[in-house]
Amino acid sequence: MFGNEELRGPRRRALHRIAIHVALALALVLGAAWAAIQPAEALPSFARQTGQPCSTCHTAFPQLTPYGRRFKLLGYTTTGGAYTFPPYPPLAFMLQSGFTHTNSDQPPPGGDFNSPNNWTDLAQQFSVFWGGKITDHLGAFVQTTLSYDGGGAAFGWDNSDIRYADTATLAGHDVIWGLDFNNNPTVQDPWNTTSAWAWPFIASTFQPGPYAATLIDGPFGGLLTPGNALSAGGYVFVDDSYYAELSLYKTPTYNFQTHMGDCCASDLLGNNITFDGPAPYWRLAVEKNLGEHSIMVGTYGMLASVTPNDISGFGTDKYLDVGFDSQYQWIHEKHAVTLRANYVLERQQFDNVLSQGVASNHIDYLQSLKLQGEYVYDNTYSFGAGYFDIRGTPDAGIYQGNNGVPSPNSSGFVFDLAYLPFSHGGPKIWPWANTRIGASYTMFTRLDGLTKNVDGGNLSASGNNTLFLYAFTMF
């Protein structure tokens, strides 16, 4: 995952040491090759396969351009480069390193990180990808991640999206159609307004954040993370403008999720989320492109019946998420502007946890709003700013962990400044490498209903403001 969702799993220090050694070795290799410059690319395996530079599909990765969205909808199968599968496997790698400082000291994260502030994590995430075609119409983006959060390293199945896609002409209309199989709702979405590929594209493992999130989105992602739900679905994109998708999600067994590195998604009470039957996910969007302008307006959502902890006898909790989103892009030669808006309304009907006597209300609502703008110059310098707000029905049962304040309400701002030095030239020995070196600052104006005493002590909401310095490298 690119976000800040904490990977849970077995603690494996040996794997962590391997990750650090790999990181250092690669840093040396890349450093030695620094002086030799060649044209550079983005998700390196996609770049090798298509022959295109990163800037064809990304303004500043991972933000997609109109062409990047079509590459994805066509199943990651288009080629044009010198290195395609077979025989060249479309493998790529990612390393995320960071330094985190919070405004006020925090409880130590534990493990190797026993200080109350200023954590340096050289291998926050190390990923291996299969990113590209398998056959002319079948392609995959499959990420596995070794993550490290201080307690130990965890190896897990990360964002994965497998597609079969083709084009057709129906009644005079151009159609891209496909079948899609993925492990995280919205990972299949080609717009960066939905949660799996939402801005900010990288955040600290240690960043404090709001307690509340909807099933499919929130200020920093939804409750479901990669591997917690598996889908089968289909989509059409008509006349390069009208997108419709329907997918059905099921939660794998706890055993399977544990084996894949992350069991399981938790509801707001900390219960494991198990879907009772397939959960439909839908998506409708209109994207209009005129010259250098591209605008999308869309809606999406999910309906899930959840049996908390898979314990029968209390009925199911029903979650209905309905989202509305919009993205505008203007890409003029070296200038790229992207504006995004996302709003999700979630209706929670707690038949189960109410009858268990845990929730206070039968029906709660939760609303998540995100507004963002990003400017990129020459695919090299990126500045982004965003506002987030999550609010909902006070529920003393659901939000009992919030220091006696039964409110999910949080809001704040995020700023991100990044430098992508290899957008026009990577190391000669591996010209497809790219890196995003940046600083982000997350400001909380309200956290879990409070502006002050958010920890029950003297910590103010702004005490959780987080400075994150990072290096996000793809190779």
Binding site: R70, L74, T78, G80, V175, D240
Partner: protein
């Protein structure tokens, strides 16, 4: 684990039924992921449908040789043609030329009359040649001379501006022709041409 295995079996069966191992004879989608699903143009990428086969081949050669050197050509097409063999280039050009073109109809309609006048008659007093002399009365092109009718306003305007800026200098006679066109006349020509072959042009 059983449901997962069952699901995977269903997926594999479905994919097998759909023939994912089928290989394409011509890598059309390598072009259409940017130029639009039926090559009618998308954002800044021009329409390829109905374009003259010889013109497309010649342009692909120009991109590969870095002779066509405007910003967008360098950004997208240099790398797109770097590994393109001549036979595939010719076959792709023949395929796209066989598709029926649709007019973009995205110019400024109030400029159409002025654009039509320049296209049909030129501006004799300023030594501006009539476009139709080479591109044909329906702006349909011939051999290496491109079809202009119905290309998008943005593309036509940018192309004429690029010659004014000194790009693609070897594409005689267009650099010289474009230099004699003012920004207003470029906008008028691009507007008129964007409707040619479309419904609006008939009215």
């Amino acid at each position: 684990m059983r449901p997962i295995v069952t699901n995977l079996a269903i997926v594999v069966t479905a994919l097998a039924a759909l023939g994912p191992l089928r290989a394409d004879e011509l890598p059309v989608r390598n072009c259409t992921w940017c130029h639009g699903t039926s090559a009618q143009g998308l954002t800044v990428a021009p329409r390829l449908a109905g374009q003259r086969e010889d013109y497309v081949v010649h342009q692909l050669q120009s991109f590969a040789a870095h002779k066509r050197d405007d910003f967008l050509a360098e950004k997208y097409m240099w790398s797109a043609t770097a590994n393109l063999d001549p036979v595939t280039a010719r076959n792709l050009a023949a395929y796209f030329s066989s598709l029926a073109p649709r007019a973009a109809n995205d110019g400024e309609s109030e400029l159409v009359a002025e654009g039509r006048a320049i296209f049909e008659n030129g501006v004799p007093t300023e030594n501006i040649v009539a476009c139709q002399a080479c591109h044909g009365p329906e702006a349909q092109g011939v051999r290496e001379i491109p079809r202009l009718g119905g290309l998008s306003f943005t593309y036509l305007k940018q192309r004429l501006e690029q010659w004014n800026e000194g790009h693609d200098a070897l594409a005689a006679p267009m650099p010289k022709v474009a230099r004699s066109l003012s920004p207003n006349r470029i906008a008028a020509l691009a507007s008129f041409l964007s409707f040619v072959g479309g419904e609006t042009a008939e009215k």
